[in-house]
Amino acid sequence: MTTKDFTEQGKPQQERKNLLEVKNLKTYYPIHGGFFKRVVGNVKAVDDISFTIKKGETMGLVGESGCGKSTTGRTILRLIKPTGGQIIFDGEDITRIGGSKLRKARQDFQMVFQDPYASLNPMQMVGDIISEPIKNFERRDKKELEEFVKSLLVRVGLPETAYYKYAHEFSGGQRQRIGIARALALNPKLIIADEPVSALDVSVQSQVLNLLKDLQKEFDLTYLFIAHDLSVVKHMSDTIGVMYLGNLVEVASNKDLYSEPLHPYTQALISAIPEPDPKLRKERIVLQGDVPSPANPPTGCPFHTRCPMAQEICSQEKPPLKEVRPGHHVACVLY
């Protein structure tokens, strides 16, 4: 372990290449209605977003419920069909591949789900849950497979005996560890973690976050970390994308985003977080109203209906995401 850590740390940063490139990704859900259930409109869950993740890094996606962050994750995994745009994974365009090719590609990207109670089969032994993905792709000796799964369990901080137990015998945090072990089973390159800690208590949350960070170092994993809690996202990520109503409104490194948030929505989001320090009780930017429905989004900038700095132009033109400082992208007419 120690030698491995050493080599990992010794790796120069520049070598890192893009593992995932998302270009102008769009995912629309059709709304059926009227006579014959024709398509009468679209919910633009993800509306033209682009970003890249470098190998070994973590990209965080943050936003309020309904902003399209989960749909983005699921579309990248090709669990949902994209309406437009491109997903390039490790140099290969996976946007339109299907059948056996897609099946094969899926070995390399895995998902950790939010609800550890719903994402594990209650009828299966934990050992079977974790070995199932391996059985789908490789033929392995039964004994050898069992040993491997047990070593995975130990790696995520569970006893070997967990192999023979069922999901209901574990607490929420332990179940999330099982979910992580399952995601690791195929030795993937990318793990998409969709709100992996939001169902957990803080003391358990920190255990799972630490585990995810350790595993990243050990296996050189790349994460897309989706969460609504900005402080958790900031703790985990190298780069953070802020989503609002299906759009990426700001992308920046985690330090820049916190020290100098540029988009008015990001500013409001940061100021809305209650800080665990009574001395920091601050004048918050309290946004009025709720997020508009993505089925009927406002024209122009999606945020202009709630933006404290909205101008006339905001309701007419949608500002593109552009780089205003090195590595700091924002979609707002103010810049």
Binding site: E64, S231, L269, K279
Partner: protein, 343 residues
């Protein structure tokens, strides 16, 4: 109103003394709340923090007499509301208090509103039950209440159903219902947990302003230390059915004394600091069925545990200037007969 005059000003609004609430599991009672005592003064916001399963919700349900019938029961202690013990109150007497003097808002605004009645019907129901007014007056009052909690188009929304509103709006409706009769105490059980941060900020601001305008006390139950720091005056930290620390919000965050509180604070990622690893608390909260009978309940997870922690139950005592803690690391928490000097 007359009863308020009779109460001397010194009496706290709510005083809970040695409360024990148990649940029946396989014909035997196990205490989920074990000897909890605290006070809520007038115009005070008291925060109760702890992880899931520590008994914070059970405590609030005990106060409201809303424990599941036949399963949950207050097995000991007193709940003094304005000096009168309400533990023995029957349903009829409690109905006079619930909604009028003490009201409650819940975490899930969707499941706590009735989906088959209009918003207006549900708010006027509270008013008609507790006040001597006509239906029209109640409706007018309901519209004012909705406006006060920041609902736009209140005169139209009043005729809508809960499913037509967003989560934040529903929570506002819940708050409007809860404050309809200007209660003296509002128990808010995780009122913002199901909401987005920007909406959470709106609701916290609303609660705070209502508290100031109505001179109300709030008992805020939450797992989020950030929310506590934001609006509370006094904080109780609960672990496994007991209070382990009690202090003013400034004291608690500046100088957390119980190891559990300290770890809890270090476990949350904070915006303003860079940290590679977060503090963790190993192990799990013991289940109600196998709570240790003696000793500190946190001992098996505590990094600072001493052998004595398994044998001696620490008392919640004042360590300095109103900061109470139940931990054997502090001399005051030792029972008198066990102290070094006594032996």
């Amino acid at each position: 109103m007359t009863s308020k005059l009779n109460t001397p000003a010194k009496t706290p609004l709510l005083e809970v003394r040695n409360l024990q609430t148990g649940f029946k599991i396989e014909k035997q009672y196990y205490n989920a709340v074990e000897g909890v005592s605290f006070k809520v003064d007038r115009k005070q916001i008291v925060g109760i923090v702890g992880e899931s399963g520590c008994g914070k919700s059970v405590m609030s349900l005990s106060i409201m007499h809303l424990l599941p019938k036949g399963i949950g029961k207050v097995r000991g202690g007193e709940i003094l509301f304005e000096g009168t013990d309400i533990v023995g109150y029957n349903e009829k007497k409690m109905n006079n208090i619930r909604g009028k003097d003490i009201s409650m808002i819940f975490q899930e605004p969707m499941t706590s509103l009735n989906p088959v009645f209009t918003i207006g019907f549900q708010i006027t129901e509270v008013l008609l039950n507790h006040q001597d007014i006509t239906k029209n007056e109640a409706r007018a009052k309901a519209v004012t209440l909705l406006k006060n909690v920041g609902i736009p188009r209140a005169d139209q929304i009043i005729d809508e159903y809960p499913h037509q509103l967003s989560g934040g709006m529903r929570q506002r409706v819940m708050i409007a219902m809860a404050i309809a009769c200007q209660p003296k105490l509002l128990i808010a059980d995780e009122p913002t947990t199901a909401l987005d941060v920007t909406v959470q900020a709106q609701i916290l601001d609303l609660l705070k302003s209502i508290q100031e305008v109505n001179d109300m006390s709030i008992m805020l139950i939450t797992h989020d230390l950030g929310v506590v720091a934001e609006i509370c005056d006094v904080v109780l930290v609960m672990y496994a059915g007991k209070i382990v620390e009690r202090a003013t919000v400034e004291d608690l965050f500046e100088n957390p004394q119980h190891p559990y509180t300290q770890l809890l604070m270090e476990a949350i990622p904070k915006m303003e600091e860079e940290k590679e690893r977060l503090a963790t608390i190993e192990g799990l909260v013991p289940s109600v069925k196998d709570m240790p009978a003696v000793g500190c309940r946190f001992a098996n997870r505590c990094p600072k545990a001493m052998p004595e922690c398994m044998q001696i139950t620490p008392l919640l005592e004042d360590t300095k200037g109103g900061h109470e803690v139940a931990c054997l690391l502090y001399e005051e928490s030792w029972p008198k007969e066990e102290r070094v000097g006594a032996r």
